[in-house]
Symmetry: C2
Subunit: 221 residues, 2 copies
């Protein structure tokens, strides 16, 4: 269960101050599937980064399973992220020097698992996103939507308890987008994975339990 | 007028051979606004790169205004690209060490123009995409959709004769996506800019004159 209370995120440099989030109150229960929507620049990725413990708010509190995350040390915070959270980034963040399958295996390197078992799970995740014919390609040899799907496979391969998806269908045609949504919904209903998805696609958002809407860094409804 | 005749693009490395395009016949007349659609991995970006002279086909011919582009030397090809073609890339390709306004000024550096005139035109392009409040930010300080809009501003700032847009609304909410489409349609109708747009969004494609559809590297209809 993730709880954001009066969360604020302000970016300050010597010439600019940008309020990315202000007075955000969001509660995500274990096993929920929710969407975050709003105009470009409204704070969605920032909100997802705070929920995913990748970014620290400048105000307010973040609680994970009842415990303030400001009470976690860096190492236990990193462990929570690696073991419990899968993240699909808006700009993919694939490693260009590694093949597709090696990219997908990365979250499994933190676990006690044989190389053969890691490869088997990575290949299965890639098959789920329709990329079995691209396992030995490198990211620069893939289309935009194929790169996005590698990012999705990498996020789900470790069976995380929480999956955070930043516009996971943004580079996909509607049929492939629907297939990705079915994967996310299956994880949510069969494995009780909590899913928080940022999307611009109203049609995909309507497949989720509720929608958190942002405008200029604030929550609106 | 751009004419692709029996164009083929095959990628070969020692372990893989991928047919990205096969038997492509496309004719784009000056002043047309057409869309390219198809599933993820079907060859759309590859086709746009060939049309934009960024990629050389492995088979077939590309003619620009009646002249085979294989007859152009590297330097005249580069000049055609810089002076006549604006390109919005699927992954933006912004320069991280340059501010937003400096990024947008780049196509104007090839022309005889004062620094004051370049800045004036760059600010106008940024205003058109709603980013006047972000001119001194750096790309890493922008949201995904804001980066996409900087890429759009950079592509239109030089008033190119041909504008090639690879999923220009992929990271934008529907309202901002519609605003971008109005900019493209205005360029097409008021300045006779030829526009070729790759998109996954059927609603935006229907605002254009015709749709070229790809499947597995081939044209289908
Ligand atoms: N350098 C390369 N080496 C090998 N294969 C490549 C290379 N570049 C692209 N491909 C392959 O060519 C095919 C077409 O790629 P392209 O980027 O044109 O697809 P696309 O239609 O734009 O897809 P998307 O909608 O996902 O962006 C893909 O299957 C891709 O894996
Ligand atoms: N490092 C930073 N420094 C300054 N401002 C920033 C920084 N990072 C983000 N911002 C600003 O914070 C705001 C929110 O950004 P965010 O990436 O959360 O938006 P978003 O809703 O995900 O947008 P999009 O739909 O375009 O991806 C934007 O206006 C952006 O310019
Ligand atoms: Mg975002
Ligand atoms: Mg593409």
């Amino acid at each position: 269960m993730i709880h954001l209370s009066n969360v604020e995120k302000v970016y300050r440099t010597d010439r600019i101050e940008t309020v990315a989030l202000s007075n955000i109150n969001v509660r995500v229960e274990q096993g929920e599937f929710i969407s975050i929507m709003g105009p470009s620049g409204s704070g969605k990725s920032t909100l997802l980064n705070v929920i995913g413990l990748l970014d620290v708010p400048t105000g307010g509190e973040v609680t994970l399973n009842g415990r303030l995350i400001t009470s976690y040390g860096d190492r236990s915070l990193a462990r929570v992220r690696n073991e419990e959270i899968g993240f699909i980034f808006q700009t993919f963040h694939l490693i260009n020097d590694l093949s597709v399958v090696d990219n997908v295996e990365i979250p499994l390197l933190y676990r006690k698992m044989s190389g053969a078992e890691r490869r088997k799970r990575a290949l299965k995740a890639l098959e789920q996103v329709g990329l079995s014919a691209r396992v030995h390609h490198f990211p620069s040899q893939l289309s935009g939507g194929q790169q996005q799907r590698v990012a999705i496979a990498r996020a789900i391969v470790g069976g995380p308890r929480i999956l955070l998806a930043d516009e996971p269908t943004g580079n996909l045609d509607s049929q492939m987008g629907d297939e990705v949504m079915s994967i996310l919904k299956a994880l949510n209903s069969l494995e009780q994975t909590t899913v928080v998805m940022v999307t611009h696609d109203q049609r995909q958002a309507e497949k989720t339990a509720r929608i958190v809407r942002l405008f200029d860094g604030r929550q609106v409804n």
